[in-house]
Every structure is written in C-alpha cells, then in structure tokens.
Subunit: 214 residues, 2 copies
DNA sequence: TCGCATCCTGACCATATGGTCAATTCAAAG
DNA sequence: CTTTGAATTGACCATATGGTCAGGATGCGA
C-alpha cells in the first residue's frame, strides 16, 4: 500500500485543528443565516459533515461554539482596524480603512452578519470587548482624526460620528448584501461593481470631510 | 353602580384592535431583542401581559405574527421614503430623507432591528416587497438623483450606492444602537447628541456629493 | 505487538416550545 | 332575561432541541 493515500493519516494535533475549523466555518455560516436562536447544532453538524455528538466533543455547548465564532470575527475586525494607523492624513488612513472594511464585507460576509446580530441583540457575549478593546480603539482613532482636523487636513466633523459612518457604510454591503443583491437583479455584485461601490464610498466620505480638494 | 367604571366595557371591535396592537408591540420588542428563532410565544405573551393561548387566538402562528410585525415596519419605512419627493434639489430632498430616517432610527429602533434581521437572514418573508415595492422605489429615486446630477445640482455619483449609503448611515443608529450606547459611556444619546449625529450625517453626505458649496 | 489516550458516534434523555382544544366568561342584541 | 357569538384560558400534546454517555474505533509511542 502506497504512502500516498487519499485520506492520509493526520497527526493527532492536526485532526483537532482541522475539525475545529471545519465546525467553526459551518457554525459561522449557520449562525449568519439563522441567528443564534434559529441555528441548531444538528444543522451545523450537517453542514460540517459530522455527527452532532462530535460537535459537543470539541465545543461543550452551543454558547461556547457561538462565542468562538464571534471572537474570530472580532480578530478579523481588529486586523482591518490596523490599516488606520501609520497614515499621514485622512485620505490615506480613512481610504485604507474603507478599502479594508469593504474587503471584509465581501470576503467575510457571514462573519459580519454574526457580529451585527450579536450587537443588535445587546451583545450578550461580547459586551466586554465593546467596553474595552473597541472603546480604546475608538477613542484612539477619534483622537487621531481630531489631530488631522487641528492640522487643517480635513473639515471639523465629529470624529466619533465619522467612525460610525465608516462602520455603517462598509458593513452595510455585508449585512444587507441580500437586499443589494435583490436590487441588483438577484445577482451578487461583480468585481467591477464592488470596485465602484468602494470608490463611491471613499469619494463621498473623503470629499464630505473636506479631505479631497476639487 | 356608576357608569364610569375604571375598566369601561370596550366595544367588541375595540377589544380586538386593542389586543392586536398590544401583541404586535410586544412581539416587535421581543423579535428585536431575540431574533425570530430566539423569540418565544410565551415571552411575547408575558410582555404583552396575556396568556399564551390568547396570542394564538389573534395570530394563528408565530410566522403570521412575525409577518405582521415586519409589514408594519415596512409601512413606516415607506412613510419616510415619501419625504424624498417634492424636493427641488438634493439638499432639500436628501436632507429631509436623512432627517426622517434618523427619526425612525430613534423612535422605532426595535422595528429597524427586526427589519435588519429579516434582511440579513435572506428576507424569508418579505422577499416580494424587496423585489417589487422597494425595487420600484429605488429605481425611481435613482432616476431623480440622476436628474439632479444632470442639472448640475450635485456631483456625479452612483445614485444606487448613494441610496445604500443613506440607508446604512441612518439605520446604523438603530441597529447598532447598543454599540453606540456602550461607546457613549453606557448611556443613550441625548437630544443634543442625536441632533449632532443628524447634522453630521447630513453635512458629510451633502458636502460629499457636492450639493453644498463651501 | 501492546497499551493508552484521543477521537468518534448511535442511542438516549430532559426540557422547552409551538400549537390545540374544550370549557368558561362576557358583551350586547332581541 | 335569554340567546348568540366572540373572547379567554388552563391543561394538554407532539415534536424538536441541547446535551449526555457508554462503548467502540483509531493513531501512536514504547
């Protein structure tokens, strides 16, 4: 028998890792489509292609599995948040942030929906993230924006509300993707349309805050 | 015994009406907080202060009750949509629309959340509204915006994406109200802060589309 | 080959939930 | 007062769901 089996024996460690990500991916999809309350362990198991009891071997409870999904998303979110820094001005910084967040809306639409759902329902499991990590990030970035304003690099706008606007506008393409798709004739946005959306958002906001001179 | 009882006998018709709205209000709240899957008829009944069996007397199934809630919200949405018309230009029309939608986000936050949840989960019950009423409204308003562009009243932007931006920005204050509240020190936005939010949104967008000259 | 810890899973359980129903109360028309 | 149909509700049912568990399979080091 050759060593190159179709199903090669995975290292014990690798088995755990593989199954966990398999389950997490399935869970993210199901939670996004049905919400926490509407999702069932059975359906997640089916999507993952595993028996239900196997889910409980890796994740003790539905809540624990959900929490892992939400935390994963928060990591991705933070990653995009970094693109704000190391920018000399609003055009660069906010532009990069919009680009990053639009890319997340496209590539991780399910994650965005789970996050939105979690927050909409009062953030039962990630309230501490909101109060600590998110709050710190927000005040830091607001201060940065205020600096840009003081330096005359943009018009005086409320930094916090500007951030809300960035979040809202970019996330909308993920959370309300179904609505946009429906209005687009039932078809997902094409590459060209995504680029147009991104450029449109950047143009309006950057011009809106007086960071573009034209 | 006087005719002026504390609990005056309601006309049969009025009883039905009163209980239906009572149930609908409770349902809107519970659906917003828990999602369709997480909401239970028992909890809705408790919030409404009625026995569960009574809910089923007025609304045969959970789905039917949910559908009524969603349709109610759509009505409110349409009402705000009207503020777009009869405007001579973007400052007036879009400004009024933002005002109206921000007011809805404030006064009907629960409804907004139910709507958002419904769309996020693929619009299982209001797909036809999206495909018909919403689509028609959108194309009509997009044409109106295009006219303003052609008349030189604003810069050339993609009308559809501008509409998405309006929806996203205004709805965010309802759907992500909990997040905003948390970042605001755990307190809801004050009257002043709401006004600031509204003015900020209007200023950035109207300047962003070149409808304000400054 | 052996032993062991990890991994797998069908069968099972307690509970919660949507929904039903028959019996009762109540308003108000005749 | 009587009648009639709407309104009310406690008790009940079938099902679905989260979670458990005992026993078997599997990889892997010794």
């Amino acid at each position: 028998m050759s060593m190159s089996e179709n199903i090669r024996p995975l290292r014990r460690n690798a088995i755990r890792q593989q199954n966990e990500t398999l389950i997490l991916q399935a869970a993210e999809k199901v939670f996004a489509e049905a919400g926490f309350g509407g999702a069932t362990m059975q359906l997640i198991a089916d999507v993952a292609g595993l028996p239900k009891a196997n889910l409980h071997y890796y994740f003790a409870t539905k809540e624990e599995l959900y929490r892992c999904v939400v935390e994963n998303i928060f990591e991705i979110w933070l990653q995009a948040a970094a693109s704000f820094d190391n920018a000399s001005g609003p055009v660069e910084g906010i532009g990069a942030y919009i680009d990053a967040k639009m890319e997340i809306s496209r590539r991780h639409a399910d994650g965005s929906k789970v996050w939105a759902s979690e927050v909409m329902h009062g953030a039962p499991v990630i309230q501490d993230y909101l109060e600590n990590t998110l709050r710190e990030w927000t005040t830091g970035r607001a201060a940065l924006i205020q600096n840009w304003i003081d330096d005359g690099k943009m018009k005086p706008v409320d930094p916090e509300h500007l951030l809300y606007m960035l979040w809202a506008t970019t996330q909308h393409y993920a959370d309300f993707g179904h609505q946009i798709e429906t209005l687009n004739g039932g078809r997902p946005l094409s590459d060209t349309q995504w680029r147009a959306a991104k450029e449109n958002v950047k143009a309006i906001i950057l011009r809106g805050i007086g960071a573009l001179r034209d």
